[in-house]
Symmetry: D2
Amino acid sequence: MIKIGHIGLGRMGLFHAENISQMNDAELFALCDLDEEKLAKEAKRLNVKKTYTDFDEMIKDDEIDAITITSPSHLHTEQISKALKAGKHVFSEKPLGTTVEQCKLAEKAVEENPDQVFMLGFMRRFDKSYQYAKKAIEAGKIGKVYMVRSYSQDPTAKIEGAIAFGPHSGGEFLDMCVHDIDLMRWFIGSEPKKVWAIGGCYAYPEFADWNDGDNVSALMKFENDAMGFLFAGRTAPHGYNVETEIMGTEGIIRIGSVPQKNLVEILDSTGIRKEISQDFIERFSDSFKDEMKEFISCVKEGRKPEITVYDGTAVSEIAYKCKESFESGELVEL
Amino acid sequence: MIKIGHIGLGRMGLFHAENISQMNDAELFALCDLDEEKLAKEAKRLNVKKTYTDFDEMIKDDEIDAITITSPSHLHTEQISKALKAGKHVFSEKPLGTTVEQCKLAEKAVEENPDQVFMLGFMRRFDKSYQYAKKAIEAGKIGKVYMVRSYSQDPTAKIEGAIAFGPHSGGEFLDMCVHDIDLMRWFIGSEPKKVWAIGGCYAYPEFADWNDGDNVSALMKFENDAMGFLFAGRTAPHGYNVETEIMGTEGIIRIGSVPQKNLVEILDSTGIRKEISQDFIERFSDSFKDEMKEFISCVKEGRKPEITVYDGTAVSEIAYKCKESFESGELVEL
Amino acid sequence: MIKIGHIGLGRMGLFHAENISQMNDAELFALCDLDEEKLAKEAKRLNVKKTYTDFDEMIKDDEIDAITITSPSHLHTEQISKALKAGKHVFSEKPLGTTVEQCKLAEKAVEENPDQVFMLGFMRRFDKSYQYAKKAIEAGKIGKVYMVRSYSQDPTAKIEGAIAFGPHSGGEFLDMCVHDIDLMRWFIGSEPKKVWAIGGCYAYPEFADWNDGDNVSALMKFENDAMGFLFAGRTAPHGYNVETEIMGTEGIIRIGSVPQKNLVEILDSTGIRKEISQDFIERFSDSFKDEMKEFISCVKEGRKPEITVYDGTAVSEIAYKCKESFESGELVEL
Amino acid sequence: MIKIGHIGLGRMGLFHAENISQMNDAELFALCDLDEEKLAKEAKRLNVKKTYTDFDEMIKDDEIDAITITSPSHLHTEQISKALKAGKHVFSEKPLGTTVEQCKLAEKAVEENPDQVFMLGFMRRFDKSYQYAKKAIEAGKIGKVYMVRSYSQDPTAKIEGAIAFGPHSGGEFLDMCVHDIDLMRWFIGSEPKKVWAIGGCYAYPEFADWNDGDNVSALMKFENDAMGFLFAGRTAPHGYNVETEIMGTEGIIRIGSVPQKNLVEILDSTGIRKEISQDFIERFSDSFKDEMKEFISCVKEGRKPEITVYDGTAVSEIAYKCKESFESGELVEL
């Protein structure tokens, strides 16, 4: 049984904690959060033995094998470094850091502790449909990949939270598009060399206050000449929509281009329709679980995860270049 | 140029008249209807040379080559017979007759005038998707057909008309299901030998006044052991829906199981949806045209249409047996 | 922790055992099977404390709280009765029994042990899409249900197993259609009063040897006049296909009518396509888990499951009447 | 009856000629082509009274009311100008000209003949689905449009023709993307101000010989800040695919994102699939007809078409800027 110390009890933090608590080969051993009341309540509910309000204290706990980090983004790098130095295996939610410099510090910490597992939370890679696509591509079923289009859309229904969280989110490119950037690199197998990003505040001018848009897009040219197009928005009328299209010289794969909540079709006065997922937890529920299973497996088996600290840096670097292009209006080289 | 005398200016009658008037190798030469005002108006609009209020007079017109019949169903047989005897080629809307005896009379008239073209209006056979399916089946692409399921649904939005027209329609089996019965025979290539029909008035008790249902179904066993299932209803919430599934030992074909108005998908607060056709003219617009083209071609080329007078009798006979089973609650042999 | 004694290590038995072994509030405590080698291997793999080759011995084990039965169908009733008498809670795979008389015996055993939980494995009810449909119907979203169509299709790819297992399966109505019958009763909220079943051996004459068909169907009239149509086949070219359509006076719900393996669409020389699940474990993987969770919850909370022993009897009774009609060719009353 | 003189008997030219010959209020009066044999054959087949091998001769014919131009692209401008000067109404296939200077000359000719009808062949606007989308947008159903994505893909199956025609086509941006550019401007209601275009020869290096790619894309920022993304390719494995997505602040419309040949779904060993159209004539057959009907109506009614000569210039100008960006690798301002 791998003993886990977990920091962060926000929505995603709680979801990760619940997933860990339901695993057979891991124990949700300790929880850490500043909110003592919440900490006590969740520790009781999830049957957790220890609680901490101080991260530095938790990582000193000799019984803990691994740390799972779901704290606010700007704390990730420091906590990753400290936990690694304390001899713990580390899983951290994306992003690796909120600046490229931070990412480089995280890289250093990982390099200095080569025997420990470090894994970053790009959960989309664990989705069954994305896994299926990756395997088909590796098997050569669509030939050489020359174009990836990736969409990430949050529902208008959640716009208030997006505005409230916006100023501290790093903006759409760093907060949301990192997933699309990760998928593009994964499917194309190359790095972007040029990017042009545009967008605007089409419905919610608030986002302009922190140089962000409510809907943005970016076109990239990769080292191997492949094309990448990403679109991210916060005003999807129909729900949470993540879709990716991978074009190859022999075939095309689309994932989620007909998004859906379940296998139900409703025939009523609106026509024939399918409802869709309303947030990332509904859509990627199984992926979050499979991602955590993979982390635990790596710890148990002394294996290194496919997703490395360098992926974290590369994705952040590209997201920053997108943001730079979006702000300047110019083409940016990487 | 084939000169056409056309009877009937109801909704479908007018649609046929317009189609004829737009053909290159036929002329809509005469119109016949009891409503003189409408007759004058439509003759002018469609640039028709002659008008008649008396069918018997129209068929005496030596300039006319062919008669197209879209009068009320109970008049079909008599008008078919008269027109054939007058030496005209005849196209008649379904049904061939409102009783099997009438159908037999029509058969006799066709047999006595073997050099003239007679064609019955089962327009679904001319739909591009149904044609495609038929060709795939004939080419052996789905193996041996062992099951056909066919749905015909009218929209709730048109229920008032259905109730008003109901008492004179012959009921759902004779008025609507004849199309499904024709398709089943066409795709299976055999005749039903046993049928059980059920249904009821689930939303509109009015239909019980003339021993009909607002939604009905029938299961049939065919001579060659294949299965046939038909469903017909008047309360489709989403519009006009005609779909057919043909199962073969090597493959399955579905036609219209994702019904649609056009290629538009709408993503809004209801989810992701397609609108669908609202009536048979919208859905089968091209089929009505292609059907009439085929009739004109047969007349010009002295060819006999694939759909014969015997199809009309067989379909009516089966529809009556469905009705008998529906009314008695018992299994009926053919 | 609820301690489970589990009998049966066939494919579905193993799948249930694995699901139990991964639960937090239940322990897979004992395994029972005649195959000692398999028993030892699986007990080790799943970390199970005790093994039995004799069911009677296992149910004497005082440490065991509940018995889960996945033995061959003809043993179900006896094992259910014995386990209940031994004071255990019982989950049994369908069918309840292989004759209606057996079902009645199971009813008696359940009635004599009113404080214990008994649950039957109709896993489709636990599928998220079926759950969603049920809730929508209960909320009145589609008005009054008047028609249910339910399909169950096994892939041609598995025909050899179907033929080998066929003589001992009870036939398609008892082995497969029980699921569709359960769904019809669940959605319609009434019992069938008349049924006509047909079908044949269209591709594999072997099934005739035990009075079965490779594809069969049945039309039913329910007490409340609703219609039910089921189709079950063993020659689906595209995979494992379970779909259900529920028509109500205000709306229509379709579940799985566009079957699929995942959210991937493939665009290649065949057109645009989706692959589908290849067997019931792939399609209903989560439902099997949720079903077992519900059983454990009922045991822990002293609750009775929605699915009762009487559902088991009713479904078997209807399946037998379908079989009777299929064999006699006649309409059968219930 | 409007008398038409038609030039060009290539594939699209013949299709236009056939459409004109089937109209009720127009007469295909004269044909012009350099290939005398073809000219004679088609004139006979389509029942055309006069033939010309010299365009200048045809436009002198006083009986002719209107000229329809489907000659090679580089001849369009001159023929448009001459026909207008000769007092004829003019329909021309796109592009308006092969250089922006040519387009300006065409503008001048149109301005100097203000009483004559001039219309350019952007047939996609006449497609029923695109019409439906346009009306929904004008009715405010999706709020303010902020993003349009448009795809145009030719099937790999036709790659040989694309390579043969390539050097004289003007390249993918001028030959194919003009349609997507026209749709973007039409739906967004604004003009692009900046564009970045990329792409490459991923499967067929031949296209590099004339500075073209086998798959290309372009991202544009419009004057009103809306985003436009176009993708055009020649290696679609599944057929001819044109799809457009229009995102608005209140809803999203997708046209053709589930492309299809007809309403048939095929369930076979590949899964569940739909076939799609194989070329632009199959996909836009009705649009070509409706476009020509609109031209004839405009001539008869003295109306001006919605599509003007300025649309032709604007679209060509944008396509050239795309090409410039594609060749230079730089961001280009308009």
